[in-house]
Amino acid sequence: LSATPEIPKEDGRPKWDNKFQYILSCIGFAVGLGNVWRFPYLCQIHGGGAFLIPYFIALLFEGIPLLHLELALGQCLRKGSIGAWNTISPYLGGVGVGSWVVSVLVSLYYNTVLTWVMWYFINSFQEPLPWSVCPLNENRTGFNEECYESSSVNYFWYRKTLNITPDISESGTLQWWLILCLAACWAIVYLCTIRGIETTGKAIYVTAIFPYLVLTIFLIQGLTLPGATDGLIYLFTPNLNTLKNPRVWLDAATQIFFSLSLAFGGLIAFASYNPSKNDCEKDAVTVAIVNSMTSLYASIPVFSVLGFKATTAYWDCLDRNIISIINEFDLPEESIIRQNYTSWISFLNSSHPEKIAGLKLKSCDLQEFLDQSVSGTGLAFIVFTQAIILMPGSQAWAILFFIMLFCLGLSSMFGNIEGVFTPLLEFRITSKSAPKEILSGIICLISFLIALCFTLGSGSYWIDIFDRYAASVPLLVIAFFEVIGVVYVYKIKRFSKDVEWMTGRKLNLYWQITWRFISPLLLLIVFMAFVILQMQKPPSYPAWNPKYEGFPMKEEKVYPPWVQAICVLLAGLPCVCVPLVALFQLVRKHHRSKDPSLVPSEMFSCQGANS
C-alpha cells in the first residue's frame, strides 16, 4: 500500500517571511510622523526633560500592556480585527467594526498629508528652492504682498501648495497639482500593498530603515550647525514645575496611546499572520521601547535645527538693528558687532535716548525666538523648510528630509491599509475567485476618489478636523472596550493560558495587574479628561486670511454648525458601532432562540484552533 500524500495542515493564510519582517512592520506602523513633529513639541512646551517622567509612566502602565494585548489577541485568534472580536464574543463584534471604520477614516486623510510631502519633495529639485524666494508683484517694483507680509515659506505653503481659502465653508476649487500628487501617492500605496503582507513585507525593509539613516545624517549635520546647542539645552532643560499641571499628564498619556497606533486593528492584523508559538510578550516590549527611543532620537536633530534657526533669526535681528544704528549715527563700519551690541545700546541710550527711540529698534531676544514652538505640519513645512534654506547644499537636505517624512508616513499607511484589508479579505475567503490584487485595487481607487475632497481649497481645515475628531476619541473608546472585552468577557484566566501556550512562560504579575485594573482605569480617566477639555471651549480653528487685520497671525474662527455636526459624526460613528452591533446580535439571538435546533457556540481557545 502506498500512503496518501501528506497534506500539511495549512489554512491558506499568508505569513511573514521571517520574524524580522513582522517586528519591522509593527515598528514602522508605530513610528510615524507624530514621532518627529509632535513629540519634540510636547517636550518643549511641557518643561523639557521633565516631560519624560509622565511619558515613561504612561508607557509602562498604558502603552506596553495595551500593545501586548493586541499582539497576543491577533496571534492567538489568527484573524483580522472584525473576525477576532466576533470570535471572542458576537456581542463584541462592534469593537472590530469600530476599529475598521477608524482605519478607513484615517487612511483617507493620512495619505493626503503624504501628498503634501510628495509635492515638496518633487519641488526640491530646483535651484533656488521655490520656497526661498517671494514672487514679484505685477509691476515688478516689489514682492507679492501676501508673501512680503508673511514670509516666503509661509506663502509657498499656504498659497502655492494648499491654495487655502480664508474660511472652511468656502470650499474653493480642486487643486490640480495636488490631485496629481494624490494619485501618485495612492499608486505607491497600491504598489506596496498589492498582495497584502507579501508585498508590504518587502517594502517595509526600505521604508522602516531609511528614516533612521536620514535621522542620523541630520543628527550629525544638525550638531555642527551654530546655535544647535542652544536649541538642545532649551529642549532638555527639565522644569519640574510643569508636572503639577494635569494637562501635561494628559498629553503624555494621549501621546503614548496615539504614537503606538493602538486600537486601529492594524496590529491585530499583523500579529494574525504570525505562527502561533511566537513570543508576543517580547515583541510588544521591543516595539514599544523602539518607538519611544525613536521619538527621543528624532527630537535631537529637530531641536538642533530649530536652535540653529532661532540663532540665525536672532543674528538677523541684531544685524538689522546694527545697520540702522550705524546709518543713524554715521559710525564707521564694523564698530558695532553682535558681541558688543548690548554695551553700545546702553551707551547710546544714555547719551542720545530720543534718537534711539526714533529708530524703533526691534528687541532681539534669543529666548523669544526659541519659544516659537510649532508642531504638526507647521513644523515640517514652514519651520524646517526655512531652516533648510539656511543650510549649505539645501536641495540635498530638502530631498533627504522629505523622503524621510514620506517613508515614515508610508510605513504607517501600510498598517492602516492592513487594518482595512485583512477583515475584508476574510469576509471573502470562501470565494477565492477574485485575486487579492483586485481587492486592494478597489480599496485604493475608492479611497483616492473620496480623498479628492481634501485637495480642495479648504482641504487642510478638513484634515485638521479628521485628525482631531476621527483619530482621537474613538480610539480611546475602542481600546477601553478591547481591554474590558478580553479581561472580563473572554476572561483573563483563559487569556493567560493562551498567552502561556504561545510564549511558553507563565504570565507575569505585571500584565495581570495592568490588564485587569490599571489600564482600563487609565483609559477611562484619559477619555473623560479629553472630552471635558474639548467641551470647555467652542471648537475653533486658525484660518489663514490675508485680509485679516492681524495678518500674518492666523484668525481664530469658530466652526459653523454643519461642520460641528460632521465632527460629532466622525467621533461618534466608530464608537456607536460597539453598542449597535451588540444590539443587532441580541435581536438576532432572540429570533434564533425560537428555533431550538441550533447548536450553542463552542468554547474557543488558542490551542484548540491550532492543534
Binding site: 518633487i122 519641488n123 530646483q126 501618485a184 505607491i188 504598489l191 490584487e437
Partner: protein, 182 residues
C-alpha cells in the same frame, strides 16, 4: 579696501560716466561732480553741476535716472551690490526669478509616476504568471491523486474490507456439532 581719495575719484568718474551715457552729452567732467559731508561711515552727499549752464546743479530726478540705468556698472566698479552700495531714494528694480518653460517639478513627477506604474504592471503580471502556474500545478496534482487512488483500489485497503459485510463461506462448517468434540 579702505575708502580714500582715489576711491572718491573713481566714484566721481562713475557718476560722470553715468550722466554722459544717460543724456548722451559728452560735456560732463569729473570736476562737475561734487562730494560733501563725507563721514567715516563712508556716506556722503553729492551733486552734479552743469558747466554749460552757469554752475547750476542738474536736477535730482535726472541724476537718479542716470544712476538707475547704470547701476550694475557702478556696483561692479566697486565690487559691491545693491545692498552694500545704497543710494537713498533709488529703489532697485528686482529681476524676476528664472522660470524654465516646463516646471521642474512636473518633470520629476513624470519620472516618479513612470517608475510606479512600471512597478505595478510588473507585479500584476508576475501575479498572473504565478496564478497560471498554480492552476497547472493543481491540475497535475489532481491527476496524481487519481492514480494513487487507482492503485489503492487494486490493493483493497483495510477500511474497504471493514465496510463490506463479510460472507460466511458455508463450505467450511460453521456448526460446532460437525466437529468431533475433544
Amino acid at each position: 579696501y579702505a575708502w580714500d581719495a582715489n576711491e572718491e575719484y573713481l566714484f566721481k568718474a562713475m557718476v560722470a560716466f553715468a550722466m554722459r551715457r544717460y543724456s548722451s552729452k559728452s560735456t560732463t567732467q569729473i570736476s562737475n561732480v561734487l562730494l560733501c559731508n563725507v563721514t567715516d561711515r563712508v556716506s556722503f552727499w553729492f551733486v552734479v553741476t552743469d558747466s554749460s549752464k552757469n554752475v547750476t546743479t542738474v536736477p535730482g530726478s535726472e541724476v537718479e535716472a542716470a544712476i538707475r540705468m547704470n547701476r550694475n556698472r557702478i556696483n561692479s566698479a566697486f565690487l559691491l551690490s545693491d545692498k552694500t552700495l545704497q543710494f537713498l531714494k533709488i529703489t532697485s528694480t528686482l529681476s524676476p526669478p528664472v522660470e524654465p518653460s516646463t516646471p521642474v517639478w512636473l518633470i520629476v513627477f513624470g519620472v516618479v509616476l513612470c517608475l510606479i506604474v512600471a512597478g505595478i504592471v510588473f507585479l500584476i503580471f508576475s501575479g498572473i504568471q504565478k496564478h497560471k502556474k498554480k492552476n497547472k500545478e493543481s491540475t497535475e496534482r489532481e491527476n496524481l491523486e487519481e492514480k494513487v487512488e487507482v492503485t489503492l483500489e487494486n490493493g483493497i485497503p483495510c477500511e474497504a474490507l471493514d465496510l463490506k459485510p463479510g460472507h460466511i463461506n458455508g463450505v467450511f462448517g460453521a456448526d460446532d456439532e460437525r466437529f468431533t468434540s475433544l
